[in-house]
Symmetry: C2
Subunit: 183 residues, 2 copies
């Protein structure tokens, strides 16, 4: 079973780093296989950008994302651009201060977090993507929180590790609450 | 002709973003084809991280980097890890305050810039990767500076666009001088 994930937002939000951290966590610390691929087709035009990650128990032979199972959207433009391409039984994760999803099609399950606001409350808007990663970890259960914390620690500037881990934990706790509440 | 590029450094230096910007510039603004791929093998362990980009005149069928033609190294550890894998006729680009290359093997051509120091002089160490991108653009001639500047503008947080373009231009000018001097 291979899970396809797309992380999307606008340039500068750190969505590429999010993809990188998920891939690193899954493969280096969780013993799975992962690849991250960017193809720069027409979908890379405009300010919406995205990062595609495959996570699998087995070796990945074909690294392109075809129909993501999980879409993370951190901007309305990114949401509009990529929602049509989400699996009908997939999972949508949004920053609900930045994205207003239209009515969900099929059996898409939506999870929402004000990740940018949480980051601002922590005095560091720039870690919104890491708050989102924590939330992603809690609601998807795809990669262990331990692996993700290790991958975060080794993928951000050293002096920002504490702040990033705090951001991760904030998103993770909130995700656990949301997950619990939606059972 | 496909050119394979590896950008490497330590976590948090923005090497993934560099790869992303090169790929975006080449494909969206320079009419070439590009892919960026991360595979998270054992080489992703430790603090050295790298981003692989392929740039081609033609459609890219096989997105994995096999033997890079260009290696950008922004840390000694990354240099040591990836230098063995550089094409013998390839190009090595380093931040020479951070990397001391051993004697070059084969016909490897080396270009050096104190990109981190330049960034610090500009009051923003964080843009060292963009200084490096400007330098890369000048010495390789692989992607046009116009395309790179557009890709930089659309890939960084909006309020930092000016600073990033300034950083790009600083690296680009220096690269032109170095290129001229090494003729």
């Amino acid at each position: 079973m291979t899970t396809e994930i797309r992380i999307s937002g606008y340039g500068g939000q750190g969505v590429i780093r999010c993809g990188y951290i998920i891939g690193k966590a899954a493969s280096l610390y969780d013993n799975k296989h992962a690849t991250m691929t960017q193809s720069f087709g027409p979908e890379a035009r405009g300010s919406a950008c995205s990062s595609q990650v495959l996570v699998s128990e087995d070796k990945i032979l074909y690294p392109y994302v075809t129909l993501p199972h999980i879409l993370v959207a951190m901007s309305q433009e990114a949401y509009s651009k990529f929602i049509q391409n989400l699996d009908q039984n997939g999972t949508l994760i949004v920053d609900d201060d930045l994205v207003t999803p239209s009515e969900a099609k099929g059996n898409i399950k939506t999870y929402a977090i004000p990740s940018t606001r949480f980051a601002e409350e922590m005095g560091a808007k720039i870690v919104a993507n890491i708050v989102m990663l924590g939330f992603f970890t809690a609601v998807t259960g795809l990669v262990s929180p331990e692996a993700m914390r290790k991958a975060v620690s080794t993928s951000v500037p050293e002096r920002t590790v504490d702040m990033n881990l705090k951001a991760f934990d904030r998103g993770f706790s909130f995700g656990q609450e949301v997950k619990e509440a939606s059972k």
